[in-house]
Assembly symmetry: C2
Homo-oligomer: 330 residues x 2
């Protein structure tokens, strides 16, 4: 009996310059480049086992057997790896997140980064990091940014090979933190994959895309220079610009809740008072409060005083997707 | 002793397609056309008295003597009328609003519409309605929309003469209401005159301007056809588009408060449930809930159940700026 097995861990990432909209939906080629940081403390661990005796792809997610329908996106992604390995083996995939899914923490990013790394390793396919990142992108666009470590930039590219993420600074470069501030634990009404396809319906999207090189340059420079003020300014601007697109899409996507605005206004007033803090918000209501390690306790205390905060997940800068030894399948 | 005296009343207006940004700041020529409705129930009444014995322009606003500095904008506006009348008389201006100032209800619109009408009448200058509207525009851009009655459209124009508002339907055409929902009574941190000058700093403003003819067409047609659903869709889209510009300006203008979002989300859910209601928001945190007369009591009840509502001012569609007989100066 032939079985090939590997386990990988990957972190979700929070985008400082956001990905919103594809120029090719099948390949998930984005309309604009993006920059993010991996989030240590949050992780997906995924074991993939290919074997002759497995008759169809099966997915266990957080301990629950998924339906064929729910397994389809994973199965299609495994097809890419099977194609590279020139095998036709089905797989059992067991995946666990240590953080809630569907809350705008981009579980699909860490999930597809870990799945890609584990599946490639199991089938003895060894692309370089850029190749692994591009491959992860096919499963979920932002997953490509969870493949390299630390602070990463996704180059939009023009085709499959040229659209991948690379590290622009390792995790140890700057001790930023992301206090993931949950104001609503419900699943999103419109998921990201569908949302990306609405991006073009906003009359403002073309202008956002055209302006992206400026935002990328400012963000990259702020990270490399470890300069918080300009980082804060550009990540908040980028967030407000993405939500401008969301709100002016057809149909409009108005993800914010009262507590979202409450945290945004509070963060801006804290920063005006000298605390390094900035907000960034993905396609959902929850707010990521970016700061530095030394301000963690102070900020968690301040956030907990605000009305409507359901949970705060403190994270630091995470490393790359990695193969690990402990398997979820014995 | 020569005295020339007149009193005028004008209503504020709420824009369905917003004015944001000037192509000429001195003339207040807007970058885009706009559409609004006058608000009956809210009004400014202004008496202007020119006289030989008056040594300098003086302004009493809501019973309080204003300083020379506070009077300057009014004084400069009177200069335009004095120039047309070829007189050099100073004036006493007494103006009263029956609604709070500085809360995003555009008191400057009704104020400069009433001031213009009263000053022209007092000095026996009689421009046609378009000319009066253009003249009012010099004092405050949106004041030009408070000169004609009912539903009005401000044509952006290319110079002073061509930038004025005209009625597209009289007040009796459609029984819309505006429930002005106050969530914050404080004065704005950044006034509209300054805000307009920030519009160009948003990377999205050019795209908003380019898209305006589409929004004007949809809004005008919805009003003429008295069709609430398309009106709701376009006025909310336009509001979200203007706030997209505000939020992405440099510095960013994030006017919304938690209760702002609460009302927005509630209005959208009420509409999904079959109640004709739509939100529009000027450059401030307060929400104008647009509906029709028959839904007033129901909506006021629903709004009063929401947290954070400080006041609700119910208004209907208002007529044009008019000369009235009762003078504020005996």
């Amino acid at each position: 009996m032939l079985t090939k097995k590997a386990t990988a861990r990957a972190h979700p990432n929070i985008a400082f310059i956001k990905y919103w909209g594809n120029k090719n939906n099948d390949l998930r080629l984005p309309v604009n480049g993006s920059i993010s940081m991996n989030l240590a403390g949050l992780e997906t661990i995924t074991t993939v086992m290919f074997g002759d005796e497995i008759l169809e792809d099966r997915l266990m997610l957080n301990g629950e057997q998924q339906t064929v329908e729910q397994t389809r996106r994973v199965s299609r992604h495994l097809d890419h790896v099977r194609h590279l390995a020139n095998v036709d083996l089905r797989a059992l995939v067991i995946s666990q997140n240590n953080f809630p899914t569907g809350t705008g923490i981009a579980s699909s990013a860490s999930a597809f980064a870990a799945l890609t790394a584990a599946a490639c390793s199991a089938l003895d396919v060894h692309p370089d990091e850029a190749g692994l990142s591009a491959l992860a992108r096919l499963g979920s666009g932002s997953a490509c940014r969870s493949v390299p470590g630390g602070y990463t930039e996704w180059y939009a590219g023009v085709d499959h090979q040229t659209s991948y993420a690379a590290s622009i600074a390792p995790a140890g470069h700057w001790d930023l933190i992301d206090l993931v501030t949950i104001v609503n634990k419900e699943h999103k009404a419109v998921g990201s994959t569908d949302g990306h396809q609405l991006a073009d319906t906003s009359p403002l999207q073309a202008a956002r895309i055209a302006d992206t090189p400026r935002r990328l340059d400012l963000c990259r420079a702020a990270i490399l220079q470890k300069d918080f003020e300009p980082l804060a300014a550009i990540i908040e601007e980028d967030t407000l610009m993405m939500h401008s697109i969301l709100m002016t899409s057809s149909p409009p996507l108005l993800y914010w809740l009262p507590a979202t605005i409450r945290v945004m206004q509070a963060v801006q007033s804290w920063r005006a008072g000298g605390i390094p803090a900035a907000f960034t918000i993905d396609a959902g209501p929850n707010v990521h409060v970016i700061s530095t390690t030394g301000w963690k306790d102070k900020l968690v205390g301040l956030l907990n005083e605000l009305e409507g905060i359901q949970d705060i997940l403190p994270t630091t800068v995470g490393g790359p997707a990695q193969i690990i030894n402990e398997h979820l399948i014995p």
